[in-house]
Every structure is written in structure tokens, then in C-alpha cells.
């Protein structure tokens, strides 16, 4: 995968990055490159380090070893060229914020003073909401929307500043099947039409397999990346997990199954590393 883009094109490059939080090494020598227009799935069980990778890219957690280069080193980390949709956002249902206010805060929520209303601003908000299919509820209170609707609004919030990379942390968790599919196809369309890159984390890769260009599989703080068929293999994942796992194709799915008797060696619950893929990836 490295070498597919020139260093100047690369949006993010992690080289042998380790992260320590509260004295515990949560990432160990993770390497990862994100190029323009790529749709990348960050897959792994809960607690594997997916959120830490995303937060490291955003500059929200310090790196203890290795290097992190953002846009070929031309930009500082704090520059807002990346959009972010965090995990499990709980919004107060009574908060006096309309959908359009949330999106508006994505444009200049970090600025001082009040926003000046203008026609261009209104139009930009409307366009952005329309691009994620949320223009119908622009005037609704954000806290009263369903999880899937809120997810779209948060994507619009992240998109309005025209980021080159969108980082989404478990956006599909807790969505019903239909919302899940519509969010995935929305993201795939954004990558195609607006040429932005998407890094999306998920504990279940099933819904993402049809649209992902590459997969970064994370387990126990380490990561392997490549095309799905290169990574979701028994030998690669066994190495990553540190104990034997089988990759089994059943009907339309790939199941990753821990071997009997390894529970005491694993840090993750066996149930969490069961279904991770679909055949034909």
C-alpha cells in the first residue's frame, strides 16, 4: 500500500506509532497511510485501539513513539482540514439547537462572537444538509432526531468546512439495519462525488465490505492493513491477535473464529471477534 501515493499526496502517514495512555500501551507500532479519495475501514473488536488511532490523527492524544505526518508535513495538526464524527454522541434532547445550528457550528464554531447571518451562509448550510439527505429536518431540534438522523447531521457538521478527510468513529453502532445501509451508501457517494477520503471504524465490517478500498484491522493495539482479502486471513489475524484464529467463509460471510481453549490468552471476548467479514471482499 505504501508507495501508491506520492508523499505530497498523502493525507495522513503513521509510521510505527505507539501511544501510551495512563501508563498502558494502547497502540503498538501502528503504520497506516491514507491517500486522497480512499474509503478505509478501521476494523477490530471493542477496545482494540480504533478510537485511539482516530484521536491520534486528530492530534487529541500524544504519540509516545513513531511519527505522524499530516498532509506531507505541510499542515499543522490543529488545522481543521479533517472532519470528525465521534462515537456514541449523546445530545441533550432539550438542548436549544436546531439541525441547522449544529451544521453552522461546523463552519465556524471555533470562532469568537456571533455568526453574521448571510444568504451565502444559509445557502451553504442548506446545500450541505441536502448532500447528506437531512434538509427535511433542518429546523428540527437535534436532540429529538433518531440516531440515524443525528448521524447524518453530524456528518453534515463535519462536511461543511470542506475537509479532505472524514474520520468517523463507530458511526454504524446502534443504528438499525436500514439507517446503517443508508449511512454507508451516503459515505460511499461522498467519496465518489466530492473526492474526500473516509476513515470509518467499526467492530463489524460486514456493511462496509462492498464499499471499502482498504481495511486496517486492529487487535490488541496492533494493526495490519491492505485489501480485505490480504488482511482477513487466518495467518495474518493469528499473528495480530497473538493466538490462533480461523477465517471461515459461510454463505456470504467471513467469520473470524478463535480456536477452542484460547480464551485465557485473549484480551477480547470471543464473541466480539466472531463475525468480521463477508465473502467476496
Amino acid at each position: 500500500m505504501a508507495g501508491a501515493f506520492t508523499p505530497a499526496e498523502e493525507l495522513v502517514r503513521l509510521d510505527q506509532v505507539s501511544v501510551r495512555l495512563d501508563g498502558r500501551e494502547v497502540l503498538r507500532s501502528v503504520s497506516l497511510v491514507i491517500g486522497p479519495g480512499e474509503f478505509i475501514g478501521l476494523i477490530g473488536p471493542n477496545g482494540a485501539g480504533k478510537t485511539t488511532i482516530i484521536r491520534a490523527i486528530l492530534g487529541l492524544v500524544p504519540i509516545s513513539r513513531g511519527s505522524l505526518v499530516i498532509e506531507g508535513g505541510t499542515r499543522r495538526r490543529r488545522d481543521r482540514s479533517f472532519g470528525y464524527v465521534p462515537q456514541k454522541l449523546v445530545i441533550d434532547p432539550d438542548a436549544p439547537l436546531r439541525v441547522r445550528d449544529v451544521v453552522s457550528l461546523g463552519l465556524d464554531g471555533h470562532r469568537l462572537g456571533f455568526p453574521l447571518p448571510s444568504r451565502a451562509r444559509r445557502e451553504l448550510i442548506r446545500e450541505t444538509l441536502a448532500s447528506v439527505g437531512a434538509d427535511r429536518y433542518a429546523d428540527a431540534r437535534i436532540g429529538e432526531l433518531s440516531g440515524g438522523e443525528q448521524q447524518r447531521v453530524l456528518i453534515a457538521h463535519a462536511l461543511i468546512a470542506r475537509p479532505r478527510l472524514l474520520l468517523l468513529d463507530e458511526p454504524l453502532a446502534n443504528l438499525d439495519l436500514r439507517s446503517e445501509q443508508s449511512v454507508v451508501s451516503l459515505l460511499a457517494r461522498l467519496v465518489r462525488e466530492q473526492r474526500i477520503s473516509v476513515l470509518i471504524s467499526a467492530h463489524d465490517m460486514n456493511p462496509l465490505v462492498p464499499v471499502m478500498d482498504r481495511i486496517v484491522y486492529v487487535a490488541g493495539g496492533r494493526a495490519a492493513s491492505g485489501r480485505a482479502e490480504e488482511v482477513v486471513r487466518s495467518d495474518v489475524l493469528t499473528e495480530l491477535y497473538g493466538h490462533h484464529v480461523d477465517v471461515i467463509r459461510v454463505h456470504d460471510r467471513i467469520l473470524v473464529v478463535a480456536s477452542p481453549g484460547v480464551e485465557e490468552h485473549t484480551t477480547t471476548q470471543p464473541a466480539e471477534l466472531s463475525v468480521i467479514g463477508r465473502a467476496g471482499a
Binding site: R78, G83, L97, D101, E144
Partner: protein
């Protein structure tokens, strides 16, 4: 009731209501009602301490208000309740201690509990107005980052708005507001003016700026009506402002409930609910 000495009362109460309404908007949005209770009540003990050693009680009030703010701001979110409560009880304990040392009945200090809105002097107005302007200027300047970090802290972090710093700044604004309003309306009225009108306003509108304006408007209404009725009836202002704040909230909720009953069904997305069923194999 609009002449002579009462003019100063009206002006001071108006400034206080504007501050309480504006600070209250963010207090309720951030879920900091407990801090809004602890900071003014704890600061009261500071006034007692200052009085004991012969300082201006306002200095003690400000010192304890800032101290309480910093203590609360230093806490992690998960321990916020406990730290706020302990800051409050420690300061109240100190207050009791200071009173025991003094051996005198300090009416000047006890008046801080309910304020002396009818005893405001013309010379008090300038500092009140000055501190009030500073408070409003900070809230105006930080309106957007505060709105973002109060409602969606994780999202704010990614756009460079540090939630931690916003928290420190906001709690210091609350300490400033406390120092300014407590001598006028007292700790208890300050608390009810910060919560009731702001909580009512957000039931009435979903627009953030309008909600803040309505919060100020309702605080003004509560205080003005309270002063007028208290002046005419001779009953305590605390009774009218305290119950007024709560009644404004109840009325707003009832009105909102009538207006959007259908929405109530799916308010909270099931964030921590059981995951949808999917075929899984375990070893």
C-alpha cells in the same frame, strides 16, 4: 415605588437579571446547575471569613467563588458531582467556623443569603454595571465555542475548541457573576434566577440565540414582578423570585408539552440499547 432610593434597586436588579439569564443559558446547557448552586452558596462563607478579619466581604466572596470554580474545573467529569458537593460542604463548614469565631451576629453577612435589593446604594451601581459588562462581553465573545463545547464536547475538541479550557473559563464567568449578583439578590435568588428562566426558555424555542434572549427576558420578568409584589405586599422577595422561577419553568414545560406531544416517543436514541441481532459464532 419608582422614585428615589428605589431607582437604584430597579437598575441593580435589572443588571443582575440580565447576567443571571445569560450565564444561566449556558449553565443549563452544560448541565452545571449543581455548580451554580455550590459556587454562590460556598462563596457566602468567604464573605463571612473576610468580614471576620476585617476585609470587605466582597473580596472574600470573590476569592471563595474563584476557588470553588477552580476546584470544580479541576475535577474529571465522572467525579464532578462528588467534587462539587465536597467543595460546597467544605466551604459551608468554613462559614460555620468563621461565624463561631466572631461571636457577633453579622447581619451584613446573613443578608448575603437573600441579598439587599431594597438597600442598594447609588455608589454600588458602577461596580455592578462594570462587572456585568465584562461578563456579557466574555459570553458574547465565546458564544460559539461555548455553545459547541457545551452541547457536543467531543466534536468541539476536533475543531480545536478545548472543552477543558471552556469549562475553566465558564466556571470563572460564573464566579464573576456570583461576586456581582450575590450582594444584590443573595445566593439563593442568584441560583433560582440562573436556572428557572434558562430552563424555561429552552422549552419555548429551539433557536440558541433566541433561547438566550428569552432566558434574559424571563429573568427580568421574574425579578421585576418579584420586586413590585414584594414592595407592595411587604412579603420577602425571595419567596416571589424563588417560586416565580419554578413557576415560569413549569408553565413553559406545559406549553411545550402541548405543542409537541408527538415528538416525545423517540427522543433518546437507544445508544446503549441491545445491538440488533446478527448471526454470530463464538468459539
Amino acid at each position: 415605588m419608582f422614585t428615589g432610593l428605589m431607582t437604584d434597586t430597579w437598575i441593580a436588579a435589572t443588571i443582575v437579571a440580565i447576567i443571571a439569564g445569560a450565564v444561566g443559558f449556558f449553565t443549563v446547557l452544560r448541565g452545571s446547575a449543581f455548580a451554580a448552586h455550590a459556587i454562590p452558596n460556598g462563596a457566602f462563607a468567604g464573605a463571612a471569613g473576610a468580614w471576620l478579619i476585617g476585609l470587605n466581604p466582597i473580596i472574600g466572596l470573590a476569592t471563595f467563588a474563584v476557588g470553588a470554580s477552580l476546584a470544580i474545573a479541576s475535577s474529571r467529569r465522572a467525579r464532578l458531582d462528588v467534587v462539587t458537593a465536597l467543595a460546597l460542604v467544605m466551604m459551608l463548614g468554613l462559614g460555620a467556623f468563621f461565624f463561631a469565631l466572631s461571636n457577633e451576629y453579622a447581619s451584613e453577612i446573613y443578608s448575603l443569603l437573600f441579598g439587599e435589593v431594597f438597600g442598594v446604594a447609588g455608589s454600588d451601581l458602577l461596580p455592578i454595571a462594570g462587572l456585568g459588562l465584562i461578563t456579557i462581553a466574555i459570553l458574547t465573545l465565546l458564544f460559539r465555542p461555548l455553545l459547541l463545547s457545551s452541547s457536543m464536547p467531543e466534536v468541539a475538541e476536533a475543531s480545536g475548541v478545548r472543552s477543558r479550557w471552556m469549562n475553566v473559563v465558564f466556571l470563572l464567568v460564573m464566579a464573576l457573576a456570583t461576586t456581582l449578583t450575590v450582594p444584590v439578590v443573595g445566593t439563593l435568588l442568584m441560583f433560582s434566577l440562573m436556572i428557572g428562566p434558562a430552563a424555561a426558555a429552552r422549552s419555548l424555542t429551539s433557536r440558541p440565540l433566541l433561547a438566550m434572549a428569552m432566558s434574559v427576558g424571563l429573568a427580568l420578568l421574574t425579578v421585576w414582578a418579584g420586586i413590585a409584589i414584594a414592595y407592595e405586599s411587604g412579603w420577602p422577595l425571595g419567596f416571589f423570585v424563588g417560586t416565580g422561577g419554578a413557576l415560569v419553568y413549569v408553565a413553559a414545560r406545559l406549553w411545550a408539552g402541548q405543542r409537541r406531544p408527538a415528538r416525545r416517543g423517540h427522543r433518546w436514541p437507544p445508544h446503549d440499547g441491545p445491538r440488533r441481532e446478527q448471526p454470530q459464532t463464538t468459539s
